[in-house]
Each structure stands twice: as C-alpha cells, then as structure tokens.
C-alpha cells in the first residue's frame, strides 16, 4: 500500500536528470515526499523534522555523480542518514557486572514484556550458557505470573516460585536473594504493563529499580507503535533511565518508524528485535534492515 520512497523521488527528479548539483528548490520538493514517507512509516513528527533538516544540509549542493540519478542520490543520502541516526550494530544485553546481574523489563500493556523476558532468558541459557532466573512482578494482570512460569517450563529456565499476596518490590527483593543463594548469573525481572502517565505505577516501577539495582532496564515496545512512541519512550526513560530498547512484532508488516523515534528521543540503542510469538524468535538489531523497512526498500 505504500509507495516506496525511491519511486516517489524518481518521479520528482525525472525532469532534473543531466544537471550537476542539487539546488535548494529541488531538495525542498524532495523533502516534502521524504516527510510524507516517514510519517507513513510512523516516525514521530518532531523526529521527522530534525531528520529532514539533516538531510537538507547534506543534499543541497550535493553533486549528482554520473552513474546515479538525482532521485537515487537523495535516497542514498536519506538512507545513510537513517542508519547514522539508528546507531551502531547490535549491542545485545550487557552482562558486564557482578553476578547476579539484574535485567528489568518495562513497557506499556501488551507490548511483549513477558514474551521477550522468556526469549532473552532462553538465549542466555542456551547460547551463552548462563544460569538464569526469571521472576514475574506482575501481580495485576490476570494469570501474568502463571504465563511466565509456563514459559519457564517450556524453555527449561527457572522461574521464582509464585507467592500469593506479595507486591512487586517484595518479589524483586526475593528474586535477588534467591539468585544470590542459588548462584544464578542473571535475574530477569518481568514487570506489569503500565501506561506512562499512570503516576502510581510509574512510581512503583522506580521503587522496583531501587530495590533490585538492575544493570539493564529494557523498554519493550511494539514495532507497530505510532506517533505516541516519543511520549512513551521519553517518559519511561525519564522515570527509570532505560538502557536499551527491545522492539517486538517486527514480524508484522509495520514500517517500524517507532524505532527511529524512540532512539532519537532517548539516545538509547535498540538492542533486540522480536520476530514472532515463539521463544526462539529473538534477533539482534541491524540498523540497515530497519532503514530499508522504513523506506520501503
């Protein structure tokens, strides 16, 4: 349903072929199409603005090399700029701290926290040979703790026994104690979904952080998220200081512009990509792939 950016730009630039450098006017016309393409890919508007400014600077006066048309030239500039903004190749979760290393998962309701917790646990266990404990701090959503327990059983990862009536902070402390006593390398703390303007729940999340002192705080966010991506990422980051982002549902046909939005407002890297419902559907982040996807290439 989306026309790829190359097609759109070649339309604009067809009349220009044969000229040397791109003029301000040529570039302005192209930037309108770029803006539209980015918005349709769900890049948040403030991020679109700063992005197009950067592209303008690079594109005006750029010499169109003989082998390429102006359209291709601008697409290349846009693509390069996107990759630059999306940051480095995958960094993965960082376990460089004294064991047990706590990793806390946070995010909106239904974004994929519990599923991603199990995916990371599975990867650390099977690929990296770590001893991993998972704990669900979600005492609110019906059967949330049960969900993590079942995922633990399916993937041969231990999960903290459920004790009815304990609150999230208590569970976090119990998990850390159990991890120390049990000689675990990593503790994954799955938290309840929360809306980023729900003050009591945001405060609770900060308390959990204080109790567990996590080395990583991963914001789990849906790749299908629209313009709200900037608000949610900013609020979660301001409240607990996220260390990275896991982008779920990348197996969908969304354009994934939220990745750019969240990275731009927080400066925190996308570390992981969820590509399915099963526990092995976890991949590293590659900026080029997201850039291609945003541009429909």
């Amino acid at each position: 349903m989306f026309e790829s950016l190359s097609d759109r730009l070649s339309g604009i630039f067809d009349k220009l072929t044969g000229r040397g450098a791109l003029s301000e006017n040529d570039v302005n016309e192209a930037l309108r199409e770029i803006r539209r393409a980015l918005i349709e890919a769900d890049v948040a508007l403030p991020v679109v603005r700063s992005f197009t400014d950067k592209v303008r600077n690079r594109a005006v006066g750029a010499e169109v090399v003989k082998s390429v048309t102006p359209g291709q030239m601008v697409v290349k500039i846009v693509h390069d700029q996107l990759i630059e903004m999306l940051g480095a190749e995958s960094q993965g979760v960082d376990l460089n701290a004294a064991a047990p290393v706590a990793i806390m998962m946070v995010g909106l309701q239904g974004s994929g926290k519990t599923t991603t917790t199990a995916k990371i646990a599975r990867r650390l266990t099977q690929r990296d040979k770590r001893k991993v404990l998972m704990a669900s701090l979600d005492t609110r959503r019906p059967a949330a703790q049960e969900q993590l327990k079942v995922l633990g059983e399916q993937n041969d990862v231990d999960s903290l026994p459920i004790i009815e009536g304990q609150g999230p902070v208590e569970i976090a402390k119990r998990a850390m104690t159990a991890a120390k006593l049990g000689g675990y390398d990593v503790v994954l703390l799955d938290t309840a979904g929360r809306i980023h303007i729900d003050e009591p729940l945001m405060a609770e999340m900060a308390e959990v952080k204080a109790a567990a002192d996590p080395h990583e705080i991963i914001l789990v966010a849906d790749a299908l998220t629209g313009q709200d991506a900037v608000n949610l990422a900013k609020n979660f980051d301001e409240r607990v200081g996220i260390t990275g982002i896991a982008l779920t549902r990348m197996d969908g046909d969304g354009r994934g512009g939220a990745a750019l939005s969240m990275q731009a407002v927080t400066g925190k890297p996308v570390k992981l990509i969820g590509t399915g419902e099963k526990s092995d559907a976890l991949e590293d982040f590659h900026p080029k792939r997201i850039a291609d996807r945003i541009l429909g290439m």
Binding site: L108, H196, R249, R255
Partner: protein
C-alpha cells in the same frame, strides 16, 4: 486571545496536530482542507480553530459511532473477538461479560486462545470475576474444535451471549489467518448465521498499520465492528479517523483501563475533542 489569520501556516499547524494524533498525512490534509473552505484568509480566534477542527473530525466519525446490538433474537448471540497480539481481546471480553451480566444476560466465555501461555487461565479469571461460565480446553488443542465445543455448550445451556476469545495474530501471517477462517467455518456448522458479530480490537498506540489490520481481518474474518483499547494513555488513536473515512465499520466501544468497568461506548464527539486537544 488575539485573533489570527487562517493562513497556510495555521493550516500546517493544524495538520501537525492531526498527524501527531496518528491520522496519517492524507486524512489530516483532507480534514484541514475542509476546515479552510470558506474560512481561508479570515481572522479567527485560537480557541475557535480547535473547536472547528474537532467538529470536522467528528463529522467523519459520527456515522461509525454505533452501539453493539446484542438483542437481535439470536440464541445464543455469538461474538467472536479477533485482533493482533496484545491489543486487548481477552480483557475486552472480560469487560463485555461484566456489562452483559449487569444487564441481566447470561454469558458464556470460550477460551479460544489455545496457543499463548496461560491465555486460558487469564480468561478463566475474567469468568470468575464476572460470573460467566468458561468453556476451555488444554493449551495446544485445536482452536476450531474448542469453538465447536463452546457453541454446543452455549446452545445446550441456552445462554444469551457466547463470547469467543481467539489467539492474537498478525494479519500478514497467512497460516494464522487461515486458522481463524477455520474457526469461523466450524462455528457456522452449528449456526449458519454465526458469528453474529466479529469484533476487531485495535490498540490506540498503533500507528498506520491499523489500516492494514482492519483491511485484512475484515477480508478474512468478516469483521463487523471495532473496539479501540488503551485510550487511557497519551495516544489519541487517530488512525480510527482514517479507518472511518475508508471502511465505514462501526466502532462500538473504547477501552480506558485494565479494570472490569473500563469500557465506554464510543462517542464521536469526545473522541474528536481529544484529537483536537480540546478535552
């Protein structure tokens, strides 16, 4: 406030408001164009602009604001809940169950998500909360088979409404969409008119992809109405305006929280005010 001229700059500002509410470029432009008709270059109060913006959005939404009618003489009235993963299907079923019970209807829930870990347990808790009987099988069982059992049980027990939960699925996954088609085929074996309503849940935080969701779920599952969830956050769910303009699908309810009472009838006026930044 001082008056300002409704010029190109102001129109662009208004368009930006709409884009940031996820209406998408085309819908945002269509609405600001309509707004400027007969008003261009005229002086206007800043508050008035927002009110007019809200009115224009409301005009698009008004025709789709239609309640869910479960009094059509069906016995049982079968509602199938479908949608992308995590959009709020199970929770919305729980909320609906409560609403129907408070209206004096007997409700049965079918745990048709036989895939996701503890999805069955989640629905059972909603059944307990709202006093509805739950038909459930084992995780990993055939979803169509479960739907068949639930249809039979609902008929035997003579319940008024059967709410069938399904596993979340991305609309671009053909095999999962085929499975949904099969669930519907099996339901029809026991009642050719059923499901009487197929409700798609849309997450308000979702951006432009919601258009694809509506289109493909509509094609495969014959969606009859929408519920937009998670409007208690900062996301405005403006893609619904683009959907209303394109598909004319009824919007029945909005979800405004995780609690059993957090389901409200869809109001075009309130939704439009929130998008225009009035509320």
């Amino acid at each position: 406030f001082t008056k300002r001229k409704l010029d190109a700059t102001m129109l662009e500002e208004l368009e930006d408001i709409l884009i940031q509410a996820d209406l998408g470029v085309d819908t945002a432009m269509a609405i600001t164009e309509r707004l400027s008709e007969g008003r261009y270059d005229k002086e206007i109060e800043p508050e008035e602009v927002r009110a007019i913006l809200s009115e224009e959005v409301e005009k698009v939404l008004e025709p789709v604001a239609r309640p869910l009618d479960l009094n059509r003489g069906k016995s049982p009235h079968v509602v199938l809940m479908v949608g992308v993963n995590g959009t709020g299907k199970t929770t919305t079923i729980g909320k609906l169950s409560q609403k129907l019970a408070s209206e004096g209807k007997t409700v049965m829930l079918a745990a048709g998500d036989t895939f996701r870990a503890a999805a069955v347990e989640q629905l059972k808790i909603w059944g307990q909360r709202t006093g509805a009987e739950v038909v459930a099988g084992d995780t990993g069982a055939d979803a169509a088979g479960l739907a068949f059992d639930a249809m039979k049980a609902a008929k035997e027990k003579g319940v008024d409404v059967l709410l069938i939960d399904t596993a979340g699925r991305l609309q671009n996954k053909t095999e999962l969409m085929d499975e949904l088609e099969k669930v519907i085929r099996v339901i029809k074996k026991l009642d050719p008119d059923a499901p009487h309503d197929v409700i798609l849940t849309l997450d308000a935080t979702t951006g432009q992809n919601a258009l694809n969701q509506v289109e493909i779920f509509g094609k495969v599952a014959g969606v009859t109405g929408l519920v937009m969830t998670k409007l208690d956050g900062t996301a405005r769910g403006g893609i619904l305006v683009a959907i209303a303009a394109k598909n004319q699908l009824p919007v029945h309810f909005i979800g405004v929280g995780e609690g059993v009472e957090d389901l409200e009838p869809f109001s075009a006026k309130d939704f439009a005010s929130a998008i225009a930044g009035l509320a």
